[in-house]
Each structure stands twice: as structure tokens, then as C-alpha cells.
Subunit: 246 residues, 6 copies
Amino acid sequence: MSSKQVIQVINPNTSLAMTETIGAAARAVAAGNTEILAVCPTQGVPSIEGHFDEAIAAIGVLEQIKIGREQGVCGHVIACFGDPGLLAAREMAQGPVVGIAEAAMHMATLVATRFSIVTTLPRTLIIARHLLQQYGFEHHCAALHAIDLPVLALEDGSGLAQEKVRQRCIQSIREDGCGAIVLGCGGMADLAQSLTRELGVPVIDGVTAAVKMVESLVALGLNTSKHGDLDYPIRKNLSGQFERLN
Amino acid sequence: MSSKQVIQVINPNTSLAMTETIGAAARAVAAGNTEILAVCPTQGVPSIEGHFDEAIAAIGVLEQIKIGREQGVCGHVIACFGDPGLLAAREMAQGPVVGIAEAAMHMATLVATRFSIVTTLPRTLIIARHLLQQYGFEHHCAALHAIDLPVLALEDGSGLAQEKVRQRCIQSIREDGCGAIVLGCGGMADLAQSLTRELGVPVIDGVTAAVKMVESLVALGLNTSKHGDLDYPIRKNLSGQFERLN
Amino acid sequence: MSSKQVIQVINPNTSLAMTETIGAAARAVAAGNTEILAVCPTQGVPSIEGHFDEAIAAIGVLEQIKIGREQGVCGHVIACFGDPGLLAAREMAQGPVVGIAEAAMHMATLVATRFSIVTTLPRTLIIARHLLQQYGFEHHCAALHAIDLPVLALEDGSGLAQEKVRQRCIQSIREDGCGAIVLGCGGMADLAQSLTRELGVPVIDGVTAAVKMVESLVALGLNTSKHGDLDYPIRKNLSGQFERLN
Amino acid sequence: MSSKQVIQVINPNTSLAMTETIGAAARAVAAGNTEILAVCPTQGVPSIEGHFDEAIAAIGVLEQIKIGREQGVCGHVIACFGDPGLLAAREMAQGPVVGIAEAAMHMATLVATRFSIVTTLPRTLIIARHLLQQYGFEHHCAALHAIDLPVLALEDGSGLAQEKVRQRCIQSIREDGCGAIVLGCGGMADLAQSLTRELGVPVIDGVTAAVKMVESLVALGLNTSKHGDLDYPIRKNLSGQFERLN
Amino acid sequence: MSSKQVIQVINPNTSLAMTETIGAAARAVAAGNTEILAVCPTQGVPSIEGHFDEAIAAIGVLEQIKIGREQGVCGHVIACFGDPGLLAAREMAQGPVVGIAEAAMHMATLVATRFSIVTTLPRTLIIARHLLQQYGFEHHCAALHAIDLPVLALEDGSGLAQEKVRQRCIQSIREDGCGAIVLGCGGMADLAQSLTRELGVPVIDGVTAAVKMVESLVALGLNTSKHGDLDYPIRKNLSGQFERLN
Amino acid sequence: MSSKQVIQVINPNTSLAMTETIGAAARAVAAGNTEILAVCPTQGVPSIEGHFDEAIAAIGVLEQIKIGREQGVCGHVIACFGDPGLLAAREMAQGPVVGIAEAAMHMATLVATRFSIVTTLPRTLIIARHLLQQYGFEHHCAALHAIDLPVLALEDGSGLAQEKVRQRCIQSIREDGCGAIVLGCGGMADLAQSLTRELGVPVIDGVTAAVKMVESLVALGLNTSKHGDLDYPIRKNLSGQFERLN
């Protein structure tokens, strides 16, 4: 139980500032024997705000999963609310892989009958909708909201995006008939705890939730199933830029 | 992170042997700073194999939740696969409450695309079906199976029930197109780890899963939402045998 | 067809006033050969406004079902809109058991393509939502509304709650795109007929609906199935306060 | 309660023998003050075994509804398991209209957690599937079976079809995990009671179920909602053969 | 590919003006080798605004399908947004049959993640709702709207209905979070192209969509499956007015 | 209508043989004025048999979409049964983008009430399952089957895979209660027509279906909606290997 273990927290975009925010949030909740390795791809998109961005980010996630596996990490977190590349990453990984959207949504259903989601740009709402459907939580979601600011506004130091998130949470609690809020962006990881305290309802960040989920799975000895459709990718000649994924 | 904390693991039936099995399983995965308080009601049913049994067990769960809260435990586990009294318990509790069916199902979706359930008596399958629907995991369940032995057969020392569970797991993995197995009874808690090793696929027990879930929620500062429908029960004159729930 | 028969109408809370309201409503629609036995538990909660209350009420329901069965009643109604203890009661009963929520919802789908629900406290809405899902009527429900008054306000003699129900029905008909209203509380049983007349749309009370459902099932010779998961509870040593359920 | 009332039971096909079977079954369960008016269209199809047959039958149903309304009947039953023309009939009717498929399915969910359907030709199964989806009972149906004999085989006097139904019921109870059987054809109306007795599980016929449903709705004062989409058809010049529907 | 082929476009109502509108729209998109045969029943309803109207229209559709098949058309379009008689028509037809509601909905899901529907009278919304459920597109529909004018207002020459459609489309795009609009009436067929251009989002008409769908199916050699439940109707003695459907 | 137009058919894997098979199938059904541009990525995976392969293939798809858009093609087909990168491709494209899984599934629902899917490796079944859920066709799918041979076995010239597909189709038609078969791999494109003829039921290939779908959308003037979540990707600094996607 107390032997050292490393959890790789992958920010799928290339923003170092956000990687730091995410890493710090992860460390704040990690168990004493867990070391957090916060990484991001060297190549990719600076922020993820649509399916195109996600497709690119998925490659970065896979590269990091491969590196993490070679480094012997015990599990992986995909720290973008769309969980880009999740099932592909599970194929590649030996240990557990948890996305922050799924982690936050799962946790939310344990402390409230229904939750609302507060995210960044309206165009990303469809990604959250599809995840709710895929994970089975449509009936547990009271409403989805976007503050209509881009992801990187969370890193501009002005605090404007943070204040908009806060306002939207307050309004959701009043109007949606929800018992908890899920924050819909990895860049909001540092807001969850203070909002939970201020608003008196669970405000859930996926980064921290996913770290605890991975720790839990590791403690239970539960790795990604290699029986069936999450088995390691069939060995093939990957060509060009993808060779290094071999 | 490292201050002492107590998690109350409630076996909703009155079987002391099963309470011990459950408590031992819980302790085996608990974090270093977690103390497991394994309890069961003093009054109730010796095993839970239907809705009637569950209705009775729910009262025992509520009594224990009340005691646990007064003892200052940080969270609660309901250690029967039907999660009896779960939402009522959440109303009564301050900390998080996690049922072992939901914990096992949640965990299963993180390591496999589809799981099968192996439980005891056929008549309990409907309870699992309803939970799959309520939790949102119908699409993640490949099949449900019953070994057709009562719950307490798991405590008779013969190992017969255990062997039937094992056989049913093996068959499920071969035939169901599932990547993981969820064990459908708190009394199977001690089988998960050895079956996982032997069969090479995640075999998931809800007791241990729920303990890690509660630890995770506590570490994240996430208590049961008291905003809305899981708020504390409205104070009323409970009469007769229920007075002590006041 | 014309031999005497007794239907037991169980008010799951301990309010005698409400038991009387319910009994009177039941009698007003019962067939000539049906005698209504309106009962309530001697121990329990004075009103039911959440899952905790429901868990307690379920025990009272089971006690009454047992008494009713011993008295030779032909069927049972559970007269609280959450249908507390319904499946457990079906295990225990020989004759049919019908909850008032299910009865009202079923009836509503026969006279309108979509219905709205008007109930008491907002915190009970989640119970109605879950029942809609369990019974299969999510697509038939246009909207759910709460008048934000407790159940017992319906018994305070002021008529305030009744007026709020009426207003909410009128607004629902105008705005929801529904063709019928389901009243979401046993204590509203006496309002259905006058509202139906005044508003010119079916306003459906579950108590009366359930009585007719039970009469129908009895006339058809349809008892609760004892094949499979609604079979009588497996005989066990029930301990303490639950002994009398044996 | 005891004033005379007439329920119109419409056999949507033109088989007089089947109309008689259906009428007799209806009369056997009708209340003392209910007169059963068993009718069938003068023009149409001799049996209904597909969507084409249903489309034709729907016109016959509407003609009979119009006649019934003019005769002052209190409600209508559509006695074909596909419930042909149900919503159109509700637009046309003042009183309640109940289809035998919906009646049987509703009743089945009240006495068992899951039911199986036994019907005639395989090609009619899709109609039952669609009704399950439309009525919300997909989760309550364990399996659908066809005896692979045409509807009119039930009227050929040989008893072969009846025996095949019986065999299929027995097998369903053994294998499907269901607690009740729904008979999927109006022509099976006379089998329900004896099969219920022989097999010891509820075997449900829709004709008798629908009669009791209509009686119940009438007793409750619940007519088809004329607010919204079931309002009377907008008056139009119906031309040619349809003029008489004006 | 380039041999002549005839597609029969059936306006299920008897309005010749609307048949012309529909035929013209169909011709505007038909391939060079496709001849459009725009027909309507000689007997029936002048417009379709409810289930009753649909039941009558279905007969007209079947008569036309029969005629079309005898004329050797390669496929059929049912040009009313409720797709009346669709499955019955498929039984009767050899070639493909496509309804305009399904065609428009299918197309919409190919160019947008979610679409809104704009139709005529509120009472027809339920028909669209049921089709969304039957076709599987509930999750792809953002909202349904009615302009509250009857179908034939589209043919009164005033342009009022057309302007209301346009206004409702503009509002939907602004408020619904949809990426495309589906026009919910065959009589709006001539509006799609100009609205698409003006509003800059796909505004989809089902008549034109269905014509292209039928052409596609024909080019692929895909006829209506005669294996199973869409096989030709079983030969029977159709009596009276239905004889000519034999 | 008759001006020249180019449809880009993208084989997302790098197999030139399969690209040729796909291109030939596409050309065989293309309209006279349609030129088929069959392409595949220069870098990527030789075949796609899991989520990992799909994630890589998605990048190749996006690169080709970009090239195609610059070449002025009128629309795009993604010719792999998992529709990899579909929504990302729609963001990037101006014209319509259609995946072969969605095209085949849509077409299948137009000619049969239920279809079965026959694909290659069992591990790809989960991808088809998820697409059924996402596209809304779960209820239209009777069964999913895998022949348990890898994708490239279709290109080995032995005909073994083709024969296994044929056998599986025959068995499906006999046992599944389906009216049509959907072929679950782009490499089966050349089998559809002969199997349709031999088996007498629609056997549907997505490549050809998608070509006709794109032609249809183009003829209707329907491009991918740029209003909302399928708008062009927000301009960002794509780094490293992804620069060329800018």
C-alpha cells in the first residue's frame, strides 16, 4: 500500500501553464505515496475546443501513454474534459486510464442525484453531451452551460473567466434543480475546492477526481482489461510520424 | 491527507460471519490512515435476497448511518449488492455514502467497455437490472448470471458456492463478450483478487471498490450534497420503533 | 363478479386525517361489491417527503400488507405517490398490489399523449423522476412541478395548498404541451374530480386510479406472479422489531 | 356507478367468428352494469398480420368509433394486438379508447417485473416491438415469440394453434426469466384464464384487460383529453369513400 | 446509371396545389434521368394535421403505391411530414419507399450534430416526436416548433405562413443550439433553398431529400427487403372499398 | 446538376490495395458527372482494427480533408466502418462529410425494419456498438457478428474472408430476424451487390452508400453546418507534425 507509485497526468494540450495548474491540483489530493508526473505533448494544440483539436490531442495522449508505460507509471489521467483518445489510450496502457470528464461525472453521481456542467465555449457542449450518453449519465445531468470564453482565458491572469465560472455555478444551483456542479475544463482544476466551500455544494473537478480514481484502481489491483476490445493494439507497421507509437 | 479517518462499512444483513468477511476485505485495501468500522444491524434479515429483505435491511442501514455519523466517521459503505436504502442513507449522512453495486459497476466501466455480473439467486437479478438502469450502465453490461445458490452458501465453509462463482466467471469471459466481471454479492468480497489473478481479467468486488471510492470522495472534500433532494430528512415525529432514527 | 370483496388502501404515513381523505376518495369510485379498508401504520412518519421517509414508510406498508393478506383482502393499494415498498409488497402479497403513482401514470397515458405532474415539495420531484424511468413513462411526461408546500399543508384546512395545486394545473395546461395532469400526492385525492370538471382536461388522482386498477386485476383473476422475482420472500429468521413481519 | 353503460369492443378485422370470441371474452369480465357491444367493420381485412392490414383496419376502427359515439357508448376497445388506429380513434372519440396490446402490457407490469409476449406470425413481432417502445415497456419485456401460425388458425376449430400457444407459454416461463405472459392476439382471448390456472402464472389477454381499463376510466370520469393533440379532428371535406367519416 | 427512371412522389393529401408545389420541388433536384411523377389520392383529406387525417391519408398512399408499382416506377416518396402509412407502403412496394420526415431527419444528422424542427400546427408536434423516437433521432433534435398556422395557409398566396416559418427558423438558430433546421411540412418544400442561402445554415426540406434518397437506393440496387416483416402483404380477401387494394 | 463534381473517398488506412477496392466500388455507383478521387494517407496504419488504429487514422483523414478542400472537391467520404475522425473532419470541411458506417446504417433503416452487421475482428464490434448508440440506431440493429479474420484478409486474394462473410450473412438472415445486412468494413465494398443478388435481401456496403449520400447532399445544396459546433476549427498554432493541418 505504501510503496512509491507514479501517476502520469497528461494534459492533452501543449499549454505549459495549464499543465502546471493541472499538476498542482493533482498533487494537492494525491496520496502520500503517489508521485504526480504532469506532462503534455511537445506537439499538438495549445487548447482543445472542438473535435478537430481533440483528434490532434489524442495522438499526443497516446505518445505520452507510451512514454508513461515505459517509465513504469501505475496509471494515467487524461486531463482534458473531452477525454480525448480515452479508449485508444486504454488499448495502449497496461494500468488504468481515467479521463477527467468521466471521473468528475462518476463522482458527481455519488454525492447528488443530478449535476450540472459548467464549461468554456458553447461549441464544446456537444462533446460533453456525447460523453454523458456514452458513459450513461444523461439522466443524471440537469443542465449544461458554457461561459463563452475560450479555454486559455482561464490562464490569462485576469480572473475574469474564473469569476464567470463562479457566477454560472451560483445561477445553476439556484435554477437547475441540481445538487452538484461538474467543472467542464481541466483548466478549472484549482477552482473546485474554494467553490465547494463558498457555495456549500459539491463543485467537482475532474483532474483531482481522476487522480483518486486511478489510485483506487491501482490499490484494488485493477488494470485495464486485456481481454477483448481493450487489448493491446495489434502490432502493425505504423508509418511516418506515427512510427514512434510502435 | 494523513490524519486518521474512519470509514463505516455497513453489512445490511445480520450475519456476523459475512460482516467479518466484508470487514476483512475492506481492511485489505484501505489506506494507511483509514480505519474500517465493519458493522451490521442488530435487528433485521440474515441475508438479502429480494425486495422484501431489502426493505427491512434499509432500516438497519439507516440506524447504522445515524450511529456512524454520531461517531464522526468520514463516510459510509453499504455492503450489499442491491445498495439497499442508498438514497435514504445519503439524506441522513453528512459524509459520502457509496453502495457496493454502484462502486463495482463504476469501476468496471473504467477498465472494460462491457462487464458481466455474477450473483447468487436468480430472483436477485431484477435488483441488479434496476440498478443498471438507475445508474446508467445498461449499455455497459454484457450479461447477468446467477449461480442459483443462496447468499449464505458463501459462508457455509464448503467452498461450493465459491467454485460455482469461479466457473461462472470463466464461462462469462469466454461467451459474453465482456472485458470484466462484477461480483454481485458482498459475501464474494474475498474472491475478487484471486479470480483477477487466475483469470487474467478484472474481477471486481464492490466492497473494496466502495471503500476506495469513499476514501477518494473524502480526500476531495466531497460530501453528500445537502442542496436539494439529498438534504437531511425534514424533522418529524417518528413514532414507535422508528423513534430512535430521530 | 358480484361477490363481496375488500380492497386494502394503505396510506403509508401515519396521518389519520390523510387516511380518511384517501379512504373517502377510494370509496367514491369503488364498485358496488368492493369494500374499502383504509389503513395506515401505527408506527412511522406523519408525512412522506423524501427517500428517508419512504424507507420508514415501506416497513409500515409491509406490515399492513401482511395484515391485509391475513384478513383475506383481494388486493392492496399503496397510497403514497412514491409507491414506497411496492416491489417488496408484491413479494409479500398474494393478490395484486398497485401504487398510486403507477396507477395515475398508467391512466394518464391512456387519455393523453403527454401528461404533467403537480406535486408538493421540490425535493420529492426526484422520486417521481425515478418512477417515470422505472415504469417506462419518461417520454410521456411533459413536465414536473412542485407547489413548494409540505404534504400536510393539504390537511391544514386553509385551502391554500389546494389553491396552489389548482393554479399550477392551470399554468401547466397552458404552457407544458400536455393533455392531462397527474396529481403527485395521495393527499390531493379529493381534488381530481372538481379540477377535471373545472379545467376541462383529465386531472388524475392515483388513489382512485389504483382502486380501479386493483378491481380490474381481481376481476381478471390476475394475482401477483409468484413465478420468479416476486415470489414470496424466502423464509428467514427476522429479528427484533421485524419479527412480526414473519 | 350502477347505471347502464355500453362499451364498444371493436374487432378491427372482418372475421365474425373472431368478433364473437372477442365479445364473449369481454362479456365474461364486464361489470354487471356494462353491456358489451362487439362489432367489426363491414369492409376490410379478414385478419391483421402486418402494417398493410393494420392501415386498412384503422379505417374500419374509425368508422366504428364514429358509430359508437353516435350510439352513446361510454368507451371503446380496439381488439387487435397492434392497436391499429389508436391515436386516430382517440381524436375521434369523446370517451376513453384502449387498445388490447397496451391494456395487456400495462396489466402485465402490475403483476410481474418482466413479461414475455406470445403471438401468431413472426412478421407481426415488429408491431409488438414498436408498441413496446411507444408505450415505454421495452425494459419490461423479457422476450417475444411467434407460434408461426396465421391469426385465423385460432378459429379453425382444430385446437392446434391453441396448443402451440400453450407450449410456447410453458417454454417461455421456463426460459425467459419472465413472471407473466402477454397473449399477442385478440383471437387468443379465451385462452388466458385456463392458461393462468394451468401454468400458475398470470397469462394476460388484452381484450378482457382493455374492457376493465375502459370501465375504470369511465368510473373515474376520465375521457380522452380534448386539450391538445387528441382534440377532435379538424373539420375538413373528406372526399369519396371517406365522406362517411365526417 | 443513365437509363430513364420514374420516381413516384405521393402527396398523401388531396390538395392539387400542394401536389404541384411538391412536384416542382422534387423536379428541381431530380437527376437528369429521373422523371418525377407527382400524384395525390383522388379521395381523402385536403390536408393532414393529426392522426385521424393520417389514417385516412395512409389508404390513399397505399392506392398510389399500388398504381406506381403497376406503372413500373423505381421508387416512391411519401410527401407528408408524418410519413403516413410508411411501413404499410413498404410492404406493398417492390422498390424503396422513403418518407419526407425520415429523409429530412437523416440528412440533417449528416450536416449538423443537432437540428430543430419547424412545423405548422402545434397538434402535429406529437407526430414528429413519435417519429424522432421511432427513427432513433431523439438525441439529434434540439427543439420542435409550430408556427400555429394550418397546412393550407402555405397555399393561400399571402406569404404569411412562409414569413412565420422564416422568423421561427431565425429564432431557432439563435436560441436552440442547433446547427440545422428541418422543415416539418411537405408544403414548405419550396422554402428550403432560399432559407439555406439567407440564413447560412442548412434548412432541410424532406421532399427533395427523399427524392435523392430514393435515387441513391435505386442506384445501389437496394429495394425494400422482402425477407421478413416488410414482405408483401399476405393475400387476403379485401372487402368493400378496399377491394381495389388487392 | 450535370456540371462536373469531385467526391473525395478517403480510405483512412494506408493500404493501397484496399484504396483501390474502395475506389472501384465508389466509381461503380457514382453519377455520370461525379469523379471519384480515392485517396489514403501517406502515413498511418495499414488497417484499422481498434481505437488506437482509429486515433491514428483520424489524423490521416484530416490531412486528406484539408487537401480535398483545397482541391475543391464537393464532398468527402470516410471509408472505414468506424467513421474515424468524422466530427473533426466535419469541422474542417466545407462540403458534406459522410462516414461509411453511418451511410450504411441509414440506408439499412430505409429498406428493412432491422438489420444485422457482419464485420471482421471481434474487437471492432465495440466500435460498431458505440456508433449505433451515437447515430440512434440501436433499436434497428438485430445483431452484430464478427468473422474473426483481420481486415487485410480481405485483400489476400484467397477469397476465404469473403466466403466467411457470405456464410455469416446467410446465417444472420436465417436466425437474426433481420431484413438486411450491413457489411462492417470498407474492404467488403465489392461484395455487396453480388450478395444482395444471391441472398435476395439488401446487403449494404457503406462505401457506395456514402458516395450516394454525398451526391445527394451536394445536389440539395446542403453543406456541413458552420453554425455552432461543426464550425471551422478555431485557428491556433498547431505545433510539430500537426503544423501542416493549419
